[in-house]
Amino acid sequence: MTDIEVAAADAVLKRHGIRYVVVGGQAVARTAATTTHDVDVMVTTDDFAKSVASLRTEKEVAADWAEANLARFRILSAGGVPLDLLDATIFAGTKTGQEFFEFLLEGASKDDHGILYATPEAVWYTRLLTKRWKAYAEKIITNVIDGITADRLREVEKIAARFGTESIVATRLAYVRDELARPDIRSLIRSS
């Protein structure tokens, strides 16, 4: 079942011919239950500037703000929920954004009703690579409480190795693992 917010984003993005993979909470929600209503959509590096420019002409979304690798729109047809366009370069490490995007397309996403959703480990990887990784680590912990197995953290390590970001990701993964080892968190993981 496609969520209303993602369906609304999909309609707009397809109308503009934008190739994308859903990342963030909406992607994790395919596996775990907890999700907020914002939609994070990643597009290819080559398309980023063009996609942002194209969406600015769209009546169903309102441009909110934009940075070098991230642009926020609001989907008017879905109550104004945020739609973030992310440049894949942010996560590509020693490789190109195009390579990271192709990795998502070919090996780290699943098709659901014609929409590609990144796997939980790919989402976790992107979350741990952002500058706000500590807050996103909390979301990873909530995902594990919700039933996504912590074994997938090993897959995050593999993605980091593939893109040469192991040194950054290793300490952040250690933080997540330490938090998951807390007795109060472990008891919730067992009960869920």
């Binding site: 239950a33 907890t34 907020t36 104004g80 500590k134 807050a135 979301k139 009960s191 869920s192």
Partner: protein, 188 residues
Amino acid sequence: MRLEAGLFREPGERALPSEMVVRPNRSRGRPRAEFHPRVRSVEDVELLRRHRVPALLITSEWVTQHGYPVHFQPWLAVPEELAGKVTSDFRILPVKDEDALTAPGIAELVTLLLRFDPLAARVVAKRNRSNLDPHELYRRVRNEGLERAATKVRLQEFAPAIPKTGESLPREELRWIEKNNPATEAPS
């Protein structure tokens, strides 16, 4: 019904419906029968509450109504003593202070959220600040021993008396999380 490391029906009290209770091993000559509740639906929880059994369902709708739009599978909050005795399809959230489950308000919601989604707890506290009693939040956090989780999401901003324990997330990161999930329904 009252909680006594189990459920016991007092003389004169009506029994729970038979399909909602599991009777453990019976002891000969025992004056009262102990029951283990089986909770399969929202209605079962409501029925338990009507029988004064401290049980509370934490739902997405409840959190969303308080300004944090979210979807999650419900949690059934019950006192720790009862947690191992409840049979339920809902996820069980044991709480130390059963009093927090009797008439839950914003402080209780924030405290319960701290257990499994501290980011949501902070946003709910912030978006309902005018209705949030700082002393009540302090009391609930202390009763549940959640000072560390509260510190992580800086709940001292809403209840300054909460002792600071451990590390806090950067303010900018907390602001970002809040900004990412704007309230789409007005806080009640």
